[in-house]
């Protein structure tokens, strides 16, 4: 049985008409939506309205367009650069991470080699290493080869995805029968060709999941780019927004930047939330596989 294609069973065969449960779910939905609603509402306000109008309702006259225009022109349109950087860094990291973890996961699942169990234990242990313990020495090493403050410094380290390798391994074991590979070997297909032409296409659902998880973790990453990048023009959205926010708060709230931070936050989360709604199947598939032990 494949973990990624398993459809949720139709439950609800005993759906209790529990008002408590319904009320609790409605309250929870409200809780999870509050920040999102706040951002949507307040991205329509200018800086005076931000301070003067009720914070969870729209102002009399809207400034959403002005805010977006301001966002695109502030500091010479640097927001667009951050957006482009974020897209580029996370796509490049996610493609790299997907390819590399697919090779690693496949090798772990299908080949016997010395030290395989050590590698496997190591992959699980990697999760425990605190980010600072890794990023700080990486910074020092990359600075020696002049790679800090370049896109490489945030893309290359993000290609390492222990979770991805683990997920692919589980998937290969469950859904790629050994017989297919043996048949291919009998037909004298090379190992690389088997991987590229047989394994990869069969792995597609798992690859999409690994891709999505790497994309999001790289899109949302703050610590790595904060350490590695020192020039505005290389920032991704997270570090860029933070720098604007710092600037806005330092100037005691008199700065024009608050409305831009809010509009910028909104635009930064829209692409992921949309992808999230449309690609639900893959997200949950990944979590299903991740929770199987």
């Amino acid at each position: 049985m494949s973990v990624l294609t398993r459809s949720p069973k139709k439950r609800g065969y005993l759906a209790p008409r529990s008002n408590t449960a319904n009320l609790a779910m409605i309250l929870a939905i409200g809780y999870f939506l509050v920040p999102i609603v706040w951002v949507v509402v307040n991205s329509t306000k200018d800086n005076t309205q931000l301070f003067s109008t009720f914070s969870l309702w729209f102002p009399g006259d809207w400034h959403l367009i002005d805010n977006v225009k301001g966002l695109m022109t502030q500091d010479g349109g640097v927001y667009l650069t951050w957006m482009r950087n974020t897209v580029f860094y996370s796509l490049a990291s996610a493609i790299g991470a997907t390819l590399i973890s697919s090779m690693a996961g496949y090798s772990l699942a299908r080949f016997n080699f010395k030290g395989r169990s050590i590698v496997e234990a190591g992959i699980l242990a990697m999760v425990m290493v605190p980010a600072t313990a890794l990023v700080m020495p990486l910074y020092l090493m990359l600075s020696k080869i002049n790679l800090v403050n370049t896109p490489w410094s945030v893309i290359l380290p993000a290609m390492l995805s222990p979770f991805g390798a683990f997920l692919i391994r589980v998937f290969v074991q469950e859904s790629i029968p050994e017989e297919i590979l043996q048949a291919a070997r009998i037909d004298r297909a090379g190992e690389f060709r088997i991987y590229w032409q047989i394994v990869l296409p069969m792995l597609r659902p798992a690859l999409v999941t690994v891709f999505l998880f790497s994309l999001v973790s790289s899109w949302n990453n703050f610590f790595l780019p904060l350490v590695m990048l020192s020039e505005n023009k290389y920032y991704p959205l997270t570090v860029g927004l933070q720098s604007w926010f710092d600037q806005a708060s330092q100037e005691g709230g008199n700065s024009i930047l608050f409305n831009l931070v809010i509009a910028g936050s909104l635009i930064a989360i829209v692409p992921l939330i949309i992808s999230f709604i449309f690609l639900q199947k893959y997200w949950q598939g990944g979590i299903n596989a991740g929770s199987i032990k």
């Binding site: 301070f51 605190p130 890794l134 390492l160 703050f222 933070q242 929770s291």
Partner: protein, 278 residues
Amino acid sequence: MIPFLIVVLAFLIAPLGYALYLSTQADTLVGSQEFVWFENYKYSLTDPIFLEGVKRVFIFGLIQIPIMLFLSTVGALVIDVVNTRLSRAFRLIAFMPYAVPGVVAALMWGFLYSKSFGPFVGIAEALGAKDFNFFTLKVFIYSVSNIITWAWTGYNMIIIYSALQGLSREVYEAAIVDGATQIQIALRVKLPAIKNAILLTTIFAIIGTMQIFTEPRILARYTNAVNNGYTPNIYSFNLAFAQSQFNYAAAVSFTLALVVFVVTSVVLALTRRKGRVE
């Protein structure tokens, strides 16, 4: 395999090895480096700033993790039996914060907490709490707890929900025939069966909590609660990048990793032993 090993070597083993090397060095007066064995580690174990930060994330975890996992588990048990439009909307919306970058989540909640931008201070004051402030030294830890709970409850709920969906139905159909209520089934049949999934979320929550960085760092603009060593990770970051004490920063990071390792091992050992007794 080879490319993965290269990446592991270049971006995991080599930096860890290098950091380990750094952590055993110290600056000398003439500006060179000197091998000092475990002096940096010894110092970190008596460093009040570091210990204060470790204590803080411990307390934080003791409060936040049980609340979050309780909510996740209850939510998962509910969406496991109720399949309505409302429950599907709830499942989707609860998971949505996962797609929001930690920085943006912290910014949004920071605005919501602030007196001039958000509604909560006004609501608290209308309810009679005078001069309520989310950013005082005492309250701030709860303000951060709330952000983390908001961000991760849905994610954990989906992990636990997946485990529930994997259970075979026969197990509790027998219980239904015996006249057990839904709540009895949830507590006596389902909960023991998904123990491992809950344990997994606990371990990940502990690892995440010990490494808290983004939220307090972003919100530091609002509050003076966040000092140089508010969490061990903030301390290590400041040591390295504000004070250029790379050697000591590396030792602090490793001590933290060791603490994470010990805590998760203890949790695993405790839960295993408990399982054997049952």
